[in-house]
Each structure stands twice: as C-alpha cells, then as structure tokens.
C-alpha cells in the first residue's frame, strides 16, 4: 500500500482545467471513425458536388463574381453554426449520462467547463473551414486574399463559432432533453444560413426579410469571409452598410459579430450556472 499512501503533490494550487477539458472535448469529437467522417463529409460534399452544381444551374448572377467560389466559400457560414449546434448534444449527454458532475466538484472555476467545450468545438470548426478553403482552391475557386483581409476571416469564423456554440450551450441546458434539443439543430444550425446571403446576394430578398438578415450574425460572417477570401466587390459589405470604405464596413461587421458572441455567452454562462447549482 505504500505506493498509494505515499505523499504526492499537486503541480500548483491555481485553478486550471482549461487545457485538460479542452483536450477531452477534442478527443470526444475524434473518438469514433464515423464521427470524424460525419464531420468531414459535409464540407467535402459541398465543395466538390453541391457548389459546382449550383454554379452550373444558376450560372453567374453578377458579372465579375465567380459563383462557384461564392457558394463554396459561403458554406463556411453553414458549417460552423451547424457544428456548434450539433455539439450541444454532447452537453446534454455529459449532463444526463456522463461525467459533468465530476467536473462540477473539481477544484476549477466552473465556467471553465463550457469555455473548454467551446474551444474544442471551435477547433473542429476550424479544421472543417480549412478543408473547405483548401478543397475549393484545389477545385478551381478564384481566391483573392491578403494578410490584412485574412484577419477578418479569422475573426469571423472564431466569433461565429464561439457565439453559436454559446447559444447551443444555453439551449442545451435550458431545454435539457435530447428529444427537445434535436429539432433546434436544423432550426438554428441551418435556417439562418438560408437568409444570410450564403448562396445568393441579399439584394434578391424582399425588403422585410433583408432587414431581418441585417441583424443575423450569419450575414456579417459570410460578408467578412468573402471579403477576406474574394475581395471587396464580392463581399456584399457595401450592401449591408451603405457607407464608408470596405475596411470600415468589415470592422463594423466584426464588431456586430463580437456583440452577438458576447451576448450569447452572457446567456450561456447564466443558464449554465443556473442549471448546475440547485
């Protein structure tokens, strides 16, 4: 028994937990081969099959805009929120059948738990985004980027991923059951994409719907992603803001996304706290 009874020390008294919980969340995401394939198949299918088909069917809606690139890149904004929403299921599984309660009695700050989950899910999203961009480029997409514009890609994807995952955590704890959460995945993971200018420009939408779209984080994210990877003309930023130069418009859209993310996390942390202390 000496080995067990032996005194041993902790590396520090600082409450940590972010790194191990992040690592654990990533391992959950990559645990099974079907899981990995499931998360990779959508971007691959879209870039190689759906976007070319759309380009063939719809042709060019505007001179000078390559529709294949437009649609292929646009689907980043479909995939990131969908991945976030889908990951909300794990929250419910951990709570009901899993290990959450052991995390809750760990000597760490509790908010580390949802934050580590968010970073894990965001990492998965980024892998998907890189695959989309890489495949699209390999498949003939006309990418046009620069160091100063690519910052907006980084910001848009990260903020949209974190924000939608914040929503997913809040909804998962609020609705509590998988059966009730399931229908929210397409409702929030997919529907806003249809309105945000992901596959067609906002200009074709009726005025009322267009105004709704201006308030969707998705709209700003897709504009930023196109601004970063295609250019000012293709971004649609001018259509959203109607004033200022493109970098100003992009900064405003990024700020709008940041506001959304901040609000989503305020809600997420409040719901989390309420759901985990009685």
């Amino acid at each position: 028994m000496t080995a067990i009874a032996a005194n041993f020390h902790r590396s520090s008294q600082r409450p940590t937990g972010l790194v191990p919980l992040y690592g654990r969340r990533l391992r959950v995401a990559t645990k099974t081969v079907p899981g990995i394939i499931g998360q990779l198949i959508t971007p691959v299918l879209w870039v190689l099959i759906v976007a070319p088909a759309l380009a063939d069917a719809l042709g060019d809606f505007a001179p000078g805009v390559d529709y294949y690139t437009y649609a292929a890149i646009g689907q980043i904004v479909l995939l990131v929120p969908f991945t976030s929403m889908f990951a909300g299921i794990n929250v419910i599984v951990d709570k009901d059948f899993g290990v959450l309660r052991d995390f809750l009695v760990a000597p760490i700050r509790r908010r580390t738990i949802p934050l580590a989950n968010a970073l894990g899910v965001l990492t998965v999203s980024w892998v998907q985004v890189v695959i989309i961009i890489g495949l699209a480029a390999a498949n003939g997409a006309e990418l046009d980027t620069s160091a100063s514009r690519v910052v907006f890609l980084f910001g848009a994807v990260s903020l949209l991923g974190l924000g939608t995952y914040g929503l997913a955590e809040a909804l998962a704890y609020r609705v509590g059951r998988q059966e009730a959460y399931g229908p929210l995945i397409p409702a929030i993971g997919v529907t806003p994409f249809m309105l945000c200018g992901g596959i067609y420009p906002l200009a074709v939408l009726p005025t009322g719907v267009r105004w709704l779209a201006y308030f969707l984080p998705w709209t700003h994210a897709v504009a930023l992603v196109r601004y970063a990877l295609m250019g000012t003309a293709e971004s649609g930023l001018a259509q959203i803001w109607g004033f200022g130069a493109a970098p100003v418009q992009a900064t405003l859209s990024l700020a709008a996304l940041a506001l959304f993310t901040a609000l989503a996390w305020r809600l997420a942390l409040r719901v989390f706290r309420r759901a985990t202390t009685s």
């Binding site: 080995a3 052991d102 760990a106």
Partner: protein, 333 residues
C-alpha cells in the same frame, strides 16, 4: 440557529477543526420541496460516518451541499475548514466524491477516466500515473483498465468511481449510496473496500445508504435522517443501546394495532410497542425476565398473541422507534 452559534462553529485558522461541520442546514429546492430541515452534525477526523435513511430522507441533498453542488437555503457547512458557500474551491480541493448514480466519461477507458480526473485535480503527471496504477490494482480493475467503461459491469463502474474519488488523496471522501443497485456479494466487496480505505489511507469517509443493516457494521458513527430531519445521531452501538440490545417480537392474530395500544398501556415502557405487518415489537432493556413475565401474564388477555421471538436490535429498529414508522414502510417494501 442563532448567530452566536454560527459564529462559534466557524473553524479557527490553525485549529484542527473537524473535517465536516454541518450547522442548522436547511435546503428548500426551487419549487418548494423542503429536502433538509435544519440538521446539525460533525464528523471526526478519520472516522467512517454514515448518513442513513430511506429514499427521500435528504441524504443526497446533504451530500450536495457538502460537495458544493447544492446551495443551502439556511445554515452553514464546513468541509476541511472551508465554508461550502464562501469558499467552494477550497472545499473541492479537499474532497473526493462518488455519486449515487454512475458519473463516468462513457467515451473513454477506465484509465483515461482516471487520467482526466488527475489532471483536473492538478496532480503532477508522474505521481498521477503511479497512483492510477496502484488504484486500478486496488480496485481490481487492472486487467480491464484500458477497456471502454461502457463494457464495465455495475460493480466495476462503482469500483472505478471509488478509485477516482480517492485519486487526488482527498481529506474527506463522500460516498453517496456506494452499494445501491449492486448484487449482495458485490455490496460486501464494496464495504470491505471502504473499511480498507479507512484503515490504510486514513481518509475521513462520509457515506450514505438506505441499507441500515449494512451501515451498522461499517460506520463508526451514523446520523439517521427521515424526511429532512435527523432522528438519531451516534455510534450504532450507542443508538441500539438506547432501545436495548434485544427486541421481543410478538405475532398477533387479529388487530396488531389494537394489541400494540393495549400492550403500551399495560407495559408502560419508555418506547411504545411498534407495529410491522402482523408483528408487534417491544424493546427489551435490561429487564428481559421481567418483560417476559409480564407478556406471559397478558398472553391470555385476548390480544391474539400466537407467537413470540427474541431478536437482536438493529438500526432499522432505532429508525422505527424514533419515527414511529417501520423502515420497510418508508422504503415501500
């Protein structure tokens, strides 16, 4: 609870305080269920302390407060010298918890479950690996350590959770119903382990169970709860002593309640006779012969006594006599 008492109970720095102090603790859940109604007790260093009582007594709620999962509505509690409300992180650094229901990371192996726990509890990596190996051996899981926990039996899961609770060398170990849902033989195994842990690791153990018979052998002291209140507190021997070491159980052909009432009046004993199904039980203090004579005298009084047995008093009898209701009725057996 007066402020004065609360102030007195605050452990002073530098003074070896009892590892667990519960002082006037109430818990009313949102929705109004009054799960715990003002209980107070202390747990001494190194002892096995049992929180006993039927389902719904408030044991898990009490554990929840002590492990910082539930906020008390009133009253205070200290674990390892830390106020559970004011300094939950300090409490969580000092405790190990095995929950009533299984709480494992189902995607991973037993060893991976322990590793994650070790990292969350901030153990140095080399120490952690050694201790994980030792605990897996102790819990008899070394052969299956790298299998997914989904493939584990109920007993294996429980043993893994016990090992995990011990991993960070806690000062206080909380085991909520460690044997619930297990076969009797596996239950014995778990109790043997609990005793071994106390002996060899010197850890203070607070456990709960609704199997009062099992607690009798394992616990140094117990608190018996019923519907949110403490009905008894002390060592099993002391509590049994208050009733007498033995009970006479009379089998009644007829109305046992009426018979019990009659017997209570005739015998004039400290604790009134208790009815369970067709049995009336009467505590025997040190005057067994006297009681036997009295019963023999009233046997012919038309109470319908058709048999009598003498048996050892148990904690379940203590529960019954303190609450006026047999434990098996509370358990719905």
């Amino acid at each position: 609870m007066s402020v004065e008492i609360a102030a007195r109970r605050v452990p002073l720095p530098g003074v070896a305080a009892p590892p667990v102090i519960v002082d006037g603790m109430h818990k009313i859940y949102p929705g109004g269920v009054e799960a715990v109604r003002g209980i107070s007790f202390e747990v001494a260093d190194g002892e096995i302390f049992g929180l006993l009582g039927p389902n719904g007594a408030g044991k898990t709620t009490t554990f929840g407060v002590l492990t910082t999962l539930v906020e008390p509505t009133r009253g205070r509690a200290f674990v390892a010298g830390h106020d559970v409300v004011a300094f939950p992180l300090g409490v969580r650094r000092a405790i190990g918890v095995a929950f009533q229901d299984s709480v494992l990371d189902n995607e991973f192996s037993g060893r991976e479950n322990l590793r994650l726990h070790a990292r969350l509890w901030n153990l140095a990596r080399r120490d952690a690996e050694q201790r994980i190996d030792a605990l897996l051996a102790l819990m008899d899981l070394d052969q299956r350590a790298d299998d997914n926990v989904r493939t584990y039996s109920g007993g294996m899961r429980r043993r893994l959770e016990l090992g995990r609770a011990l991993l960070a060398n806690p000062r206080v170990l909380f085991l909520d119903e460690p044997t619930v849902g297990l076969d009797p033989s596996v239950r014995d195994e778990i109790w043997a382990l609990v005793r071994q842990l106390q002996r060899e690791e010197g850890v203070t153990i607070v456990l709960s169970t609704h199997y009062l018979e099992e607690a009798e052998d394992v616990c140094d002291r117990v608190a018996i709860m019923n519907r949110g209140e403490l009905v008894a507190l002390g060592s099993p021997a002391e509590l049994i002593e208050t009733l007498g070491a033995e009970l006479v159980e009379l089998q009644i052909d007829g109305d046992p309640t009426a018979a019990a009432r009659e017997l209570g009046i005739t015998l004039q004993r400290a604790s009134p006779p208790l009815v369970r199904r067709d049995l009336v039980s009467i505590a025997v203090s040190d005057d067994a012969a006297d009681l036997a004579r009295q019963i023999a005298a009233i046997r012919s009084d038309g109470l319908g006594i058709i048999g009598s047995t003498l048996r050892r008093t148990s904690l379940a009898d203590v529960f019954a006599h303190r609450t006026g209701r047999p434990l098996d009725e509370e358990l719905g057996r």
